[in-house]
Amino acid sequence: MPLHQDVLWYKDAIVYQVHVRTFQDSNGDGIGDFPGLEEKLDYLLELGINAIWLMPFFPSPLRDDGYDIADYSTVHSSYGTLEDFRKLLGSAHDRGIRVIIEMVLNHTSDQHPWFQESRSSKDNPRRDWYVWSDTNTRYQGTRIIFLDAETSNWAWDPISTSYYWHRFFSHQPDLNYDNPAVREQMWNVMKFWLEMGVDAFRLDAVPYLVEREGTNCENLLETHEILKELRRQLDEHFPGRMLLAEANQWPADLRPYFGDGDEFHMAFHFPLMPRMFMGLKLEDRKPITEILQQTPEIPPSCQWSLFLRNHDELTLEMVTDEERDYMYDMYAQDKTMRLNLGIRRRLAPLLNNDRRRIELMNGMLMSLPGTPIIYYGDEIGMGDNINLGDRNGVRTPMQWSGEWNGGFSAADPEHLYAPLIQDPVYGYPAVNVLRQKASEHSLLNWMRSIITVRRSTAVFGRGSIEFLYPANHRILAYVRRLGNEAVLVVNNLSGTAQAVELDLRRYKGNILIEMSGQNMFPRVGDQPYLLTMGPYQFYWFRLRRV
């Protein structure tokens, strides 16, 4: 099927999140680039993913890893040329891989020409493109997001002798979406990339577009109206393209971002992710089932986006104080691992490099309702470097082999944009793609196989979910259904063997076929279905009436 013909493609997608800078350096300057990424598309194809999400690659002073954009209409010269990007896009499409790019709507870099003009004079035509104030007392009900770095959402600009509004770092002034010219310009930016062929946008920090006095300046109706207008334009001019919302909010607050199927196609399910880690540590399904029970229904054309780890800290904003304390104590006892309200660590170190737990977490990621996103390197169990500042410890170069610079770059090591992981456990000599390709039972090969199973049926991407609540709370069990197809998923969250009795009477007469080995299990009868599960084991069973 041609790529844009299936308008619900994102429901079946397995997304791979990668920063161009981190993946492969083709010209030996120590920085990953588009040609390097293009070289590795076949690796991604073999892994089984069918979409890549590229983090910001625009010109930027890189004070926030590219989320401080200084020019929306081209690419950062470190990563190649616009033509290089076009070539990558075409190569990805040739392989059936869709490309999702970042679009930071909320703010620009303070180095963006728009802001330079805006600050230059109060009479400048672009003055009103940003949110200016003579005082720093407006919008007092608004929280500060980067608590470790900022003390206010207002910053003083000595050039124009006014305060400007910023929800993130002070070098990232917020655009003024009350200005129609800004809204029009940002659509033009999106149109530019859509016309080039990008398949989707991950829209960054969308809850914060509009400010209103007396509110917390998040999730405002006016913000939704702007987003709906962008979606309307997208559907009208570029059907089959997709918008993915980054809105770190509670499920009930997230729900409006789907609208009536007329706002975002997908949104990250932020509250679920920390609860998966919590459930695993507690050996109790409660945090997971509880948050999914609180998750409202979304329109049929919409989809949740699920992830275990990403380029940011493991955010603990959407948990209670008690849960946050627990997560810190369990996963970040070393305080240097903590950042803002989160934990800046990768998947494997978070799970003590325990292969069983890594597999279980990925198993849940692939089987819970939503589109899974794999963060680059997690498929081989890459580690992190907490000695690097901010979130840079989880943004180190991809480890391709045990050779020079881990196969990432031919540059001198001191010229790399960031040092490779070199410790004995996670360092590139021990953890790399080449080595894992050669090992039948490596994590990489296991990931390929689980992705293959996941993609063998549409039920995981599109099916409904019905939780079973066996009396054993260490077992998380659910049935995914789509039409006549049903898949039973049973996860043992415990580090010890467990027995569980499942009430499957509704499926009486079905036999269970374990999906990875295709082996049959006994037929479901009137009695509770007894399963014994090894530590952190999980099963996916196709329910089949014979």
């Binding site: 919590m278 507690l282 050996e283 109790d284 399904r285 409660k286 945090p287 209670t320 008690e322 849960e323 627990y326 066996p470 009396a471 054993n472 709370h473 260490r474 415990s494 010890t496 467990q498 027995a499 569980v500 009795e501």
Partner: protein, 426 residues
């Protein structure tokens, strides 16, 4: 291994299935019940609040061992939802909190209930356990912390409570159980016989393995046996102050069952524990968190006259029984004071201690039916209670404590008298 198999056989399949689902726990709360529907719902909610407040991260379970309730007690335990607690208390549960219930086959018996709880604790590898009374109307969430923290944090094996009591409440404890246990075993546990206590897994397993569960008593006084087993086994013991204790009013007719549960249990234990208590001299206090005890002084109406009359009548009517239990001099002295009028009546501490020790020796020798010996103590105890009430009628809290301490020392001073009687039999 045989013991373990026996425990598993003793538990029903359904209960075992529930235990499998609960899995390993950190905290186990045992709740024996029998027709406690009036109180049990609120008690379970208090327990849930206590767990959420004091042990939010621990794996916890409430185990209800029910002696055949027909008033829905078990349903109230298993149906109590954490959501009922949450809105009022703003508490949040990180984990699943299980509450499971089993009914044992025999009639209500505290021994069977405790055995069930201990077996469950062992199978679930509970690190710290607490047993709570289904009748504790004034239980507070903090009780869980007070009874469990010493086990979890400080490595104690048994945590017994102390309470704020009226000076005339618990006369059997202050006049017999406390001083005698202290004198004989050398450990000053104020409430060795208590329906609420905390304990470690190792003590629970020890008691489960060593106790003779099928002695036909249904486990009468098992809580006291548990405490004595802890002392005899050299386990670490402490006390924790719980505050005021509401209690269900007992009638005079309840005295004999109370004597069976306390004095009968203590006397029974003396024989197997002889190697332990016979070598103990003096006593040591037990580490206590909070107050040792607190005494309330407000006026309390007690029918003292009836106490003395029952003593005098008993001494007269049971003369032939007492002749086989007591020494001639002790009996003569009891008969003398039985004839005294209310004003001059005085049952001294020394005479009381001698009486009790002679009863203990008679119990050991089984001079008559052991149960008859215990029953015969009832009128005698009433005489002693009368004197205690009179002596402390206007006493301050400090005076009352001093008097109790004096009695304890009397029990310690006369311990050789008991040893002499005991050894003369051997």
């Amino acid at each position: 291994m045989e013991t373990k198999l026996a425990e598993e056989t003793f538990l029903t399949d359904d209960f075992l299935r529930q235990l499998i689902n609960v899995g390993e726990v950190d905290i186990l709360v045992g709740l024996p019940t029998h027709n406690n529907a009036k109180t049990i719902g609120s008690i379970v909610h208090t327990i849930q609040s206590g767990i959420l407040q004091c042990f939010p991260r621990e794996r916890a379970v409430i185990i209800n061992a029910d002696g055949g309730s027909r008033d829905g007690s078990t349903e109230l335990v298993t149906g109590a939802s954490i959501d009922d607690v949450r809105p009022a208390s703003n508490l949040y549960a990180l984990r699943t909190l299980h509450a499971i219930s089993t009914q044992y086959a025999s009639s209500p018996a505290s021994g069977v209930a405790l055995r069930t709880i201990l077996a469950a604790a062992e199978l679930l590898r509970a690190k710290a356990c607490v047993v709570l009374s289904p009748e504790s109307a004034n239980i507070e969430p903090e009780w869980l912390a007070k009874l469990l923290h010493p086990v979890r944090r400080d490595g104690f094996d048994l945590v017994t409570p102390t309470y704020r009591r009226h000076k005339f409440e618990g006369l059997l404890i202050t006049n017999l159980l406390y001083p005698m246990v202290r004198a004989l075993y050398g450990v000053g546990i104020r409430e060795a016989y208590t329906p609420e206590f905390g304990f470690s897994s190792r003590l629970g397993s020890h008691f489960l393995a060593q106790n003779a569960w099928n002695d036909g008593t249904g486990g009468t006084g098992v809580e006291l046996r548990f405490a004595l087993a802890a002392i005899a086994g050299g386990y670490r013991i402490c006390q924790s102050f719980l505050g005021e204790k509401d209690h269900i009013e007992r009638h005079a007719a309840d005295l004999v069952p109370a004597l069976r549960q306390t004095v009968g249990t203590l006397f029974s234990a003396l024989e197997p524990d002889f190697p332990v208590w016979s070598t103990v001299a003096g006593s040591r206090p037990v580490p206590t968190t909070g107050a040792d005890q607190e005494v309330l002084l407000e006026p309390l109406r007690v029918n003292r006259k009836r106490l003395r009359e029952m003593f005098s009548t008993g001494v007269a009517e049971l003369e032939s029984v007492f002749e086989s239990i007591l020494s001639p001099s002790t009996l003569a002295e009891l008969q003398r004071i039985a004839r005294q009028g209310e004003e001059e009546f005085h049952y001294s501490g020394e005479l009381w201690v001698k009486t009790v020790y002679e009863f203990a020796a008679a119990y050991q020798r089984s001079v008559i039916s052991r149960d008859h010996i215990i029953q015969a103590l009832a009128p005698i105890f009433r005489g002693r209670a009368f004197t205690f009430l009179m002596e402390n009628r206007d006493a301050s809290a400090e005076d009352v404590e001093n008097n109790i301490e004096g009695l304890c020392l009397e029990f310690e001073r006369l311990k050789p008298y008991l040893l002499q009687m005991w050894k003369s039999r051997e």
